[in-house]
Amino acid sequence: MNNEEVKDKSLINAYPTKDLFISILIRDVTLRDAIGDLLDNSVDGALRLRGDASYEGLCVHIELNAEEGFFRISDNCGGIPVSVARDYVFCFGRPEGAEETGHSIGVFGIGMKRALFRIGNNFKVESVAQDSSFTMEVDVDMWKQGIDKAGDQVGETETQADWTFRFSDYKEDQEEEYPEGERGTVVTVTNLHAGVIEAFKIDNDTTSLIQELQREHLFSINNGLEITVNGIRLEAPDLKLLESDELKTAYWEGLDQPVEVRIYAGISQQTEYGTDGGWYVFCNKRLVLGPDQTKRTGWGIKTPIRIPEYHPQFYRFRGYVFLDGEDPRDLPWNTAKTDMELDSPVWRRVFQQMVDLMRSVMDFLNKIHNEERYYRERRIDKTPLQSAIDNADFIPLAQIVQDQIAGIKPHTVAKFTAPEPARPRPSPADKIWIRYWVTRAEFVLVKEYFELEKKGEIGRSTFDYFLEREIKS
């Protein structure tokens, strides 16, 4: 405060301190979220660099080093141009009228700073982009107090805090472009906060971090991006859909709005069980929801189409929704990117189409189920649906999406198509069906005698036994 200035006594100073600001910023942010945000930034780089093409050759390495006390994330995904760093990356909030950064996951202009503040006190960002490069080092404690690197107090007052960061080194508008292989970003955080080092020491924390990151970046990993955490390469289950001339994945697109929508619904491998069935919703290629088997993706709804609750019979169902927006704020996700905004107009429209496509896949799965039964009952001789599955190929989702966008093998908007099932013969009239109850104890005895598992077969055997011995002989 300038002592010579007369203090206006009617004035209330509501200016926030940097300390308060930071504590609000990082409140409710878990360490996992922070690391996730930084990875999102790297993956954004990959998306900007390659668009819908393969990410082969791009990598992101994350190091959590408890012994030496640092966190580092480094990538070769194109780097941050100096101008973007200056006008966007290190600003709090997205400046009104800021230039679009292109399809990205980082939305609200706070991700990276928030993450860095959350992890430690000192951070260093080094980046090499096409024709610019910079290094920036920040000691957060000093920055809070308004002390610059040289240790001098910057002219900071109660109402005139210094909210700037300073590049320690930067080059801009270079004549000669940096070679592609050198472009990338390295973020190192040291002087880690209490709790962070402890977390890095817990193996189980790292394991669950890896699992969550590989789930979120499922598509990018599938698309060839190499992500490692402490040298362990993240792996994602192959997303594949059965495709052939006979079996066609259901598809819908809406491409004339700021948010481009592509929806695929089909079936996956037969050998898989359990947990992967359902819908996967990607916003700018990052998984936000899924595999989802709840009402929010249509399971168990009644209108406008009745969809059954998720059931193991549907474990082969796979639905993939891609929402892509130049401006990530247009996408219907929440700030934590962990769920869809179910009330948003975009999501409502997408949801309608999802359930419509889904219904056609359900119908097919039900028909397959019936076909198996009719075949078992010898009411059909051929199984055209099963044959269609056997003759189809598993096509990686990433390839389907690339082919779609490049127009190589585009899907047209249509529901799931499959061959007509065989018409079953009516159950023969000269046969009758016997049902009766027995006690469990009696049943076990008979079951052990015949050494059979299925109740129907056991019952049939007792009948045959009687028929052979008492009637026919």
Partner: protein, 327 residues
């Protein structure tokens, strides 16, 4: 299971229904500003008589026709009675069949239900609203006769309360607005108004969702046009309207639906009431129509003014039933 109604009575001798069919046909014809009506698809419940299919094929030359039939066990009879080759049968519940169809062409769909409004009927309305392209027409017919109320319910609640309970049970509590009471569900006009409102609510909701990704000119709207109340045996309601994209507003205007005297875009019903007249009386009256000489006719044939006016409104559609010996 109850016997299907076509085995109980013959649809063709329901005079109000017959008038309704012809009026619908006249309304359908107006759609030709969107595209020649003959290239539309017609979806209906043809039953064994296919009366609507015969009329629409003959009058409008529509050839893409689908009859939805849930009673697959009567398949042979349906196939036998299929009046034209261009009528395709789809077996199954309409809830199941509608999602199996493609919806990329203009369609006229007449969901000619026999029962009251339930979640199942609303589901079909929702599905149509979600999929019908601009220039398509949806028509829904429902029974609005008084509810049969269960004795168990009447033991504990009043008739009015039981009616409301019944509606909640039928359509789902989430679809019943808070201001609906039992008195809004008395058979006939009250119930018809309520059912119409529920259908409009459903369409509003679905269209709101459908338009979530649309630019202003592609937003889909619904223009209600039909609101028939009539009774042959049971009280019936028929509502209908056109789905159109905002950019096609001018085309909709060209259709001039409002110039059809039976069109009712709002909550006021058009009552189809047929005076019972002899052929001789009709011939006499027809001679003076459409101008009409009411006063003179009351004197000559002894009909009331009301009867004559009602006839004058409907005479173009008034059916003639005669007994014919077919050998």
């Amino acid at each position: 299971m109850a016997k299907p109604s076509f085995t109980v009575f013959d649809y063709r001798v329901r005079p109000a229904k017959s008038v309704e069919r012809k009026m619908l046909c006249e309304a359908f014809r107006r759609l030709s500003f969107f595209e020649p009506v003959k290239s539309y698809r017609y979806i209906g419940f043809g039953s064994t008589t296919f009366t609507d299919f015969i009329l629409i094929h003959k009058a409008l030359d529509i050839t893409d026709m689908i009859s939805i039939e849930k009673r697959k066990n009567y398949e042979t009879r349906f196939e036998f009675n299929r009046p034209f080759h261009c009528v395709k049968m789809k077996y199954g519940d309409s809830n199941k069949v509608l999602p199996e169809l493609t919806w990329d062409k203009r369609t006229i769909i007449w969901l000619d239900f026999e029962g009251h409004l339930t979640a199942s009927e609303l589901q079909d309305v929702a599905y149509a609203a979600m999929n019908m392209v601009s220039g398509s027409m949806l028509v829904v017919t429902l029974n609005v006769g008084d509810y049969w109320l269960s004795p168990e319910c009447l033991k504990e609640l009043s008739r009015q309360e039981c009616r409301l309970e019944k509606l909640k049970e039928d359509v789902g509590i989430e679809k019943v607005p808070g201001d609906i009471e039992g008195k809004h569900l008395v058979g006939g006009g009250s119930m018809a108004r309520t059912f119409r409102r529920l259908i409009m609510n459903e369409i509003d909701q679905v269209l709101r969702d459908r338009n979530g990704l649309s630019s202003a000119e592609h937003e889909v709207r619904y223009q209600p046009l039909l609101n028939f109340h009539y009774s042959d045996r049971a009280n019936m309601l028929t509502v209908g309207g056109v789905f159109y994209e905002e950019r096609d507003k001018a085309t909709l205007k060209q259709c001039e639906f409002e110039s059809l005297d039976f069109v009712r875009p709002d909550d006021t019903p058009y009552e189809i009431e047929l005076p019972i007249l002899t052929p001789r009386e009709r011939q006499y009256l027809d001679k003076a129509l459409p101008k009409g000489a009411v006063k003179e006719a009351t004197e000559t044939i002894g009909l009331t003014e009301g009867e004559i006016q009602r006839y004058a409104r409907l005479y173009r559609h008034y059916p003639l039933f005669v007994e014919v010996e077919l050998s």
